[in-house]
Symmetry: D2
Subunit: 342 residues, 4 copies
């Protein structure tokens, strides 16, 4: 089969042929139909420290995907050939404290598809049955491939109650925009999106964000104070992963409000906790992945309700062989979601 | 001043002249601009048992209102002549356990304007400063007069998290419709409204309710099962006050879902708690009034966001002198909100 | 093997010989070491309507038990011969909405051991691996057999935050007493236990309940008002299943408090919802079973902490052949837990 | 009257005579009976940057106190001469968003007694009626003076549900010990206290903390892992204000656990949020002061229940004139609470 692999510990990737993988007793073999590019894939392509400390070469990457089941492991029930599925990328062990108390997505011994196990930038992939979500017939493979990142936005906002509240999201990358869309459809009084890419701010505005702020052009803290008439934001969602903005982000929060941290910082963050968290009595929620399967049910309901249309968040489609173009575009941080169709 | 009073312990009311009331040190004297008819007012007009056991004659009634401040009690701070206000009708004592723990709206020694103290179907009214909410300039007196009942809908849904959830509201009177609108703007996957009045079902549909069911024409339990593909509702809101429907209402709920009880039943309800609450592990929330002032802030944010427009829920306006026509229309249970303009 | 079965649709049971059962691929065969008598077992013994509409004869009953694994189904991982286990009696399907959102204990297609599948009043039993909890070495088989009912008490209180709160539990049967013990060790200001059996009230007092009230001798509503200086209870737990007391139970609640319903009523309950739930803005939580496995982890932690000692709640031990004596004692409603040792 | 004041911008304080203060219409004049030393008082005594940027000289300090009412402002209701009271030190404005939504303790325009207004290290003090809590007759003035810091411990744990959970508290100063006591009486499986003062660790052990760790002698992260058999802590409470330990503190937390931040750091904290908050999906709660009056009601209930006895946490009593000895002992960070009796 055709596959995109990381072969050498330097920038780049290689489009090559691999044998179709063999599955275990608890797995599904799936024909991949669509796979989206995630920040992790960019790290692997760039061979950043994040990637080099986690990934063993050679390696088939890619993990946000949808597919059709073509073979079923012998201990798998409830799935059969022909099922259309989307992939949850967190593989829970099923037996630790977290896995036995509804927190599989932060399993103590978690593995991640496309990081710890072979990924899906290929014609076929191995999907553990415990990570397979049946796609509703009304949801296309393309949208299905983005349910994983969309789910992060859903999960992030689920820590809060946005109805009638003021919400600001730092970061207008795809997940930032998903979070803004979820906040808005959840009844936020208004949603503010912050970024430094004009293209991404345009996309956020197009997708319905009420106010967009370019952090290069305005003082976000002052602007938010003005917009909110001094009240401050009820909910702050951080999705840039830029450690320089945490203090400003939390300065926009009103006393007693909620902060959701999702973006991944490189290294420790210098945070004035006394003024921005303790004296404010802020609630700060770390968010990673999606609750299995609560978030998926909610994400599906939102998509089926047609309250929001996430189709335009996918701004580019590519063939897998054009991976260089796709990944370089992704690392420009100016686009929406980029999807390989297979 | 002109005023609508209940004079005799029989059906009816009387439009008459009264002296402008005198205020206490902690009160505001206000010029009433709009006052809406509530179910309680119908009870007083009809002189039902509910009314006769609570109200002492003669009595000036009406309590959903907005007004302009014309005189300020000497111990009142933060209000001044000319302020536009809406009235919270629950007068908290300020000192009981409930009042000192954020539950003023269920104060142990609560009094209610228009039930225990003189009301607002008149040119002027006495409003305790502790019950006055400053109207935002963007909110008209007419809408301001309905913030009290609208707030019940906001408060009812605030017990739940409707985003991506299936919501059913039993009752399409004004508060039922408000609840449906709030559920929808809070991101419900879909909202079902149930009633037996074709006019009210039409109004619900016009205001955006996704599915309306006439309980006289369809089997609601079966219909909900069909619509939800057997999953059942995540959230059930009861606003009919019809004790005959509580079992059916809770039968539409999925296991692990939320029931919000708001409608006032006459007498005890026969409820199959084992099958509808215990085995389902349902959460049941009693709701009355509005949280002071959390609900008002949220209600204001929703109105200012223009996510929903509650104007058409007011279906009729009357002069106070046409009270008989107005109250008889109200008791037909076929309309939206009816408002007196003064 | 020796086994206690229900053979005929009349009062009674039969101690007999049965073949050791064969297990499926996902099951464990276990040697039963201790099995406690539950209310359900009394129903089956009495052949009440509850039993006759659920159970198909002939039938091996009993479901609160601990055991040692003697054979492991071929698809079972993480268990091996010699493991000491306690049984969760709710068998979840694993695939419905509830099972995929952390609510396995209210699975839509749930089966119950000893009701829908063969039970454990026998030398050996079949235990689905999905229902097996590994017993900590510090927990005996006797206590292990009562972790199932103890878990109900743990789960019931987990809906609330008892620290510094006033708690009343209606019912001093074993689960009622467990609930009282959990409330007290969770920091309740004081715990009141209510029953009509002097023996059970004595046991409750012995186990640490601060105040016991005999509902035959005192007016509970008045007594609670006196004890709480008119404040009322913060938390009411109903464990009698006596539908005649629901109104009184909820009358003891303060406005804004929590009611937990656990006891199973026969038929519908006449409840004055307006005065006892809606005007009070009470939160009512239906509770059944135990959260898998959150409740078990918590129950284990409590037992290991030695903050409470549940050993004396087991007031009687019997050999299985003395079942008549044991079950008749159980139906007297005057004892603590009764355990068969095997 | 006798009073302890800060006169000069250098280390030290002055015991002097001042006129008895005059009260405003909404205040109480109170005869101080007991006043405890807080970390803020040490800052003022030392004239640290924290103090010099907040306090204007000359200044009467001290704010944790209990007293008897001797004069009542003319607009004050519900208090009268002779009432025994304890002081809430946060003076809310009463009108901002926070004050009108149950968050008075994080009022946007909050003032603090003994920081922004004259304090209570004196024979008499001015107490705004809105900050007065009536002492239950069963609670002494000495204990009453410590309800303010005790309330911080109560409030900190109220963000969590300690029953059956593993709790670690960093810091065994008075509030740290209060937090440990509250965690234990709230049913924690076990409570670990961490400090570097042998005296404080001894006091923690004496007050009932299950395990004490001297951070100078053991590797806390490793020790916690051993004690918890690799599970990690469910709840971490930070009360040292030592910014160097935040990463280690959060490393002891299990995935999905709760962190409560109470201690005040000097300057920004370098926190590895990705590994310690985001990937763990930790919930982090900033805590300051006490919820008005929810925390006070709970604190009172706990004291009245006699579940814990906070008397021995007061390790030293002094006359006000011996302030130098008292404050120097306080800054040694080796004692429990130090109280002036007046």
């Amino acid at each position: 089969m055709k596959a995109l692999i990381k072969e050498k510990p330097t920038r780049g990737a290689k489009f090559t042929d691999l044998p179709v993988p063999r599955i275990g007793d608890h797995d599904l073999l799936v024909k991949v139909h669509a796979a989206a590019i995630c920040g992790t894939d960019i790290h692997i392509y760039q061979w950043s420290e994040f990637a080099s400390t986690r990934v063993k070469l050679p390696f088939l990457f890619g993990h946000e995907f949808s597919a059709k089941v073509v073979e079923v492991g012998k201990n798998v029930t409830h799935f059969q050939k022909g099922d259309r599925v989307a992939a949850e990328t967190h593989i829970p062990c099923g037996h630790c404290y977290q896995c036995t108390t509804g927190l599989q997505h932060v399993c103590k011994d978690m593995k991640i598809i496309g990081v710890h196990t072979a990924g899906a930038f290929a014609d076929y992939a191995v999907l553990p049955a415990v990570c397979a979500w049946k796609l509703d017939p009304a949801i296309s493979y393309e949208i299905g491939a983005t349910m994983e990142p969309f789910g992060i936005g859903v999960h992030a906002l689920s820590k809060t109650k946005p109805a009638g509240k003021k919400v600001i999201v730092f970061g207008c990358g795809p997940i930032g925009i998903y979070a803004q869309m979820v906040a808005k459809m959840s009844g936020a009084e208004y949603v503010i999106g912050v970024d430094i890419s004009p293209e991404r701010l345009d996309l956020a505005r197009k997708m319905g964000t009420d106010i967009v702020l370019n952090a290069k052009e305005v003082n976000v803290v002052e602007e938010v104070s003005k917009v909110s008439k001094g009240l401050g934001m009820d909910i702050v969602v951080e999705l840039t992963g830029n450690k320089g903005i945490v203090n400003d982000a939390s300065k926009t929060l009103r006393r007693g409000g909620d902060i959701v941290l999702v973006g991944l910082f490189s290294g420790s963050v210098e945070w004035d906790l006394v003024n921005n968290v303790i004296y404010k009595e802020a609630n700060v929620y770390g968010v990673t992945g999606r609750i299995m399967w609560d978030t998926w049910w909610t994400a599906q309901s939102i998509l089926l309700s047609r309250k929001i249309d996430v189709t335009p968040v996918i701004t580019h489609y590519f063939d897998l062989k054009d991976f260089d173009k796709a990944l370089q575009l992704a690392e420009s941080a100016t686009t929406g979601k980029i999807v390989f169709k297979m």
